[in-house]
Each structure stands twice: as C-alpha cells, then as structure tokens.
C-alpha cells in the first residue's frame, strides 16, 4: 500500500493536467459520479455528518491495524472530494491517518471545498476520520 503522502502526490500530479477550474470541477464531478462509496446499510443517522449545505455519511471499520473508510454525500461535488479523501486515508494505518494533513486539497486548487464557511460537512468529515483512527489506534 502506497503511503498517504505518495497517494496525495499522485492526486496532485493528476490534477496538474487541468489548467481551467472547469476541467478540475468536471473531474471532481466524474469522481463523484462513478465511485460506489458506501454500503446503503451504512447510510444511517448515526453515520450522518450534517452540514448546512450538503450531508455526508461516513463509515469506518478496523482491519488489523488499518482503517477502512466508506462514505457518501447527497451533493456530487462533495462526493468527489470524499472520493479523494477516502482514496488517501482508507486502508492506511491508524497512526498515519491521525498524523496526516489534507494540504493536497489546497494544492489541487480546491481549497474552498475544505473551508468551514462552505458548511458542506467535509471539514467535520476529515475530523471524524481522524477521530475514528485515533479510537482504533488506542484499541491496539
């Protein structure tokens, strides 16, 4: 499994191909459309992170010393960003997730997506991913 840093660098390289915001957005929309992200059974009230604008569901499972994430959103742009976050964090060691940052989102020019004022649930989602990792880590 590639490290979080490596995966994030891959994503940054991937987005470097796009010059215009429109192309970036179209790519994010594609990611949002194509990826099956979560088992419908896991789209429960407990797993729901409420944002003012869009809703996010996040499910976490411990597998050995790694954490597997699945997630979804009702908004497709949010879902696209989720796909990127899941790609970087899912399957990683709990400790690595706790220590990781999400600066790559800034680097690919989608900073506004992780801005608290967007109220799209993503900021809370990143926090929740780290909390799961922290909880699983302390179980080891």
């Amino acid at each position: 499994m590639a490290s979080i840093k490596d995966i994030q660098q891959d994503i940054v390289d991937e987005f470097d191909m796009f010059e215009e915001w429109m192309e970036k957005y179209e790519h994010i929309i594609e990611l949002g459309k194509t990826l099956p992200l979560i088992d419908e059974n896991h789209k429960t009230e407990d797993n729901l992170i409420k944002g003012c604008q869009s809703r996010v569901w996040l499910h976490a499972e411990k597998q050995d010393n790694t954490v597997m994430f699945t997630a979804d959103s009702d908004a497709i742009m949010t879902k696209g960003i989720i796909a990127l976050l899941v790609r970087t964090f899912s399957g990683q060691k709990a400790q690595d997730i706790v220590e990781a940052d999400t600066d790559f989102i800034n680097q690919i020019g989608l900073k506004e997506q992780l801005s608290p004022t967007r109220a799209n649930g993503l900021v809370s989602m990143v926090k929740q991913m780290k909390l799961y990792a922290l909880a699983f880590q302390s179980q080891n």
């Binding site: 929309i29 869009s54 809703r55 009702d74 908004a75 497709i76 742009m77 799209n120």
Partner: protein, 404 residues
C-alpha cells in the same frame, strides 16, 4: 423611471471581478450592499462625531445623541408609527424577536398558545420555542399549501382564546411569499392575541405601515435595507412595550439604581441597555433616506420586472422547478433543476462569479415541508439588471451541462 446604471455607480462593491467574471450579486435576501453615502456616514461618524450618547453634556455627545435620535424619527416615519418611543433600536431583526419573545415568557402561562407559520425562518421559530419551554405554553404551526401560501382557513381554526401571540413574516425569505399580514392581524385581534410581524425581508421591498396593519410588533434589520450590519429596529405598540419586562439590564435602561432596588427608564430606553451601535444607528437613517430618495414605488416596480423576467427565462430551462409560487410574491426565486443538488449548482455559479444562496436558508422546516434538501435562491435588489438575470440563466445552464 429608474436609472439603474446610475444607482449601480453608488455601490463600490459591485464593481469587481469574482473568479475572473464581473460580480453578479443575487443574494440580497441575505444582505444587501451599501451605497457610498451609507459607508461615508459611518466614516463621518467616527471621524467627526464619535461620542457616547444620552450621557454627556459636552458638544460631541450632544451631536451624536441628536444624530442617533434623528434616526429614530426616520425609522418612526418609515414604519408610520404614532410615537417615537415606540421605536426600539436593536442589533437586528433576530434580537428584536428575542426581545419580544423573551418578554412574553413572563406573560405566558401553561394554557396559552403561540402560533408561528410553517414558512418562518429560524429567527422567528426558536425564540418562541424558548419562550414556550420556559412558560409551559404550546407552540402551534399555521400550515401552508404547496404553492407556499398560508392556509388561512387552518389559521382561523387554530385561533382561540388561548392564543396569546401570533408571529409571522411579512415576506418569506425562502419562498418570496407576501403574506396577508393585515388579515392575519385582524383575525388575531378578534381573540385578543398580539401579533409580531417579522419584516426582515419586507423592509427593502414593501411599504410598512404599522398603523394601517394595526401590528403590535414589527421588526426590520438595517443590513437588509442597504444599511449597516449590527443595527435593526423594533416597533412595538406603547401598551405592549409597557407590559413587557426589560430584555437586558445595564446602563441606559435605568431610572434609578441602588443595591436594594432599581427602577427602569421609560420607553424606549427600557429596552436599550448599554452603549448601542451608534454609528450603525446613524447610518441606518442615511440608508432609509437614500431608499426614499429613489422611491419605494420605483424600487418595487423594478424588482417586480426582474422577478417576472427571471421567472420567465428560468422556466425555459429543462427540469426547472420553482419552490414557492404564491400569487403575491416578492423578488425572490427559489428553485431546483432536475435532481441537481443545490450545493453543486451554487459551487459552479460561484465559479462563474454569480452569488446566490444555496441550502435551507435558515428555514429547515420549509424545506422539510417540500421534502427537499434546500434550494438555490436568487433574490433581487434595486441595483440588479436584466443582464445579470441573463448571466444567472446562462450559469444555471452551464452548471446543468456540467452536472448531468
């Protein structure tokens, strides 16, 4: 005839690019921009007049007090209220409602009922819920139909001798519906209930005449009528304001203070504890004068033309669904396109330099009523143009193409 380009020149903020496009600002329901005269009034206050009011014998204090009280007179005229002391300055519409609802905690009992409408924003729901919780009174909801109009028959059936307060908006922020507040008030008065009209959205879009309406309370926010943030006004009938206990304690609101007992100041000071937003109060007068200079009739006519044009043009887009189609509507359009999430639409419109509101508009129960996660809302002001409507329509089409 309104010269919109001349009006636009008075708004410095409108002349900028956002994400590489000339800004199209259609989020006026959230807040309007400020004309240069209002910005200047704030600056002028701090440069030439700054002083605490109602308490100094010196020149500046007198000057600031006179200006602030002149604003109260302007607001009185704007509301067409009888008495100056029936105008309370607040920090905004929300504080005005809290002031009244909080006062009613002392007047409500467990058998009493408070009615709010199904199309209220949170500011006109939560303070009443809190008042009911602490007094044991019951909160009831006046339903609406699927066009976003209040069900007046259901309202009449809800009214009884237990009804003590009815709190409704004049214009719905989420739907644009103009409510028949005069009739609502008449019916409420037949059972002896007081009526608070939330004028957050009506301030810049409609004539307010509290005497004609016979409203018991009416409130507005300054920042929605081209004035500064942090200032608003509450009109209350003298008899009601005398019945309500003070909202906050402190300086300004007292007559005498000793550790044994404090007596309260008369109206309006009883409800104005502490140093107020003096600059905001003074600039609010400038904003109202500015609006009157253009003429509310002209503003309403222009906004109505924009509403009709935008409704006609947006309706041509495939999958367009308007939320709120009341026959009597202000210049607010809430809509959805196909199954596109409003957040996705808003993100792309933003990238195209178009500012709209997306989400539940702080009126979650309205969205629940229509079983939708939110809407995209375009709300117009006097400085908007048909060209901007065209940009919105093009933007929506572009977003639709990208998202489907």
């Amino acid at each position: 005839m309104l010269d919109v380009s001349q009006i636009r020149q008075q708004f410095p903020i409108l002349h900028q690019e956002v994400n590489g496009y000339p800004l199209v600002y259609l989020d006026n329901g959230a807040t309007t921009h400020k004309p240069k005269v209002v910005i200047d009034a704030i600056q002028h206050y701090y440069e030439k007049q700054n002083s605490n009011i109602h308490r100094g014998v010196h020149y500046l204090s007198q000057l600031a007090t006179d200006e602030y009280e002149a604003s109260r007179e302007t607001v009185r005229q704007h509301f067409n209220a009888d008495h100056l002391h029936e105008i309370i300055f607040t920090k905004g519409n929300t504080e005005a409602i809290n002031l009244v609802a909080n006062g009613f905690r002392a007047l409500l009992s467990s058998t009493d009922e408070v009615l709010v409408s199904a199309m209220e924003h949170h500011s006109n729901i939560v303070p009443w819920q809190m008042a009911c919780q602490s007094s044991g009174a019951t909160l009831k909801v006046i339903p609406m139909n699927n066009r976003g109009e209040l069900d007046m028959l259901a309202y009449q059936n809800l009214l009884s001798s237990n009804t003590k307060v009815v709190a409704v908006n004049h214009i719905s922020n989420a739907l644009g519906t103009i409510n028949p507040v005069k009739e609502i008030i008449q019916l409420a008065h037949q059972v002896g209930a007081a009526v608070l009209v939330d004028g957050a959205q009506s301030g810049p879009h409609a004539h307010i005449d509290v005497k004609d309406l016979d409203a018991d309370f009416y409130c507005i926010s300054g920042h929605k009528i081209y004035g500064p943030t942090g200032i608003g006004a509450l009109y209350g009938k003298e008899e009601w304001l005398n019945k309500l206990p003070p909202y906050q304690g402190g300086g300004e609101m007292i007559a005498t203070v000793s550790f044994k007992e404090t007596t309260y100041a008369g109206l309006p000071h009883k409800f104005e504890a502490g140093t107020p937003n003096i600059a905001g109060g003074i600039a609010l007068k400038t904003a109202i004068d500015w609006l009157n200079g253009i003429g509310l009739e002209n503003v309403m006519k222009h906004e109505h033309e924009l509403l009709e044009y935008a409704t006609k043009e947006l309706a041509k887009i495939e999958g367009m669904r308007f939320i709120g189609e009341a026959s009597n509507k202000a210049a607010v359009i809430s809509f959805l396109v196909g199954d596109i999430h409003p957040y996705d639409m808003g993100m792309i419109l933003d990238k195209l330099g178009i500012a709209v509101r997306t989400g539940h508009h702080c009126a979650q129960p309205v969205m629940d009523e229509f079983c939708i996660p939110g809407t995209i809302r375009a709300s117009f002001a006097v400085y908007n143009t048909k060209e901007e409507v065209d940009r919105l329509v093009e933007g929506v089409k572009k977003a639709q193409q990208m998202l489907s």
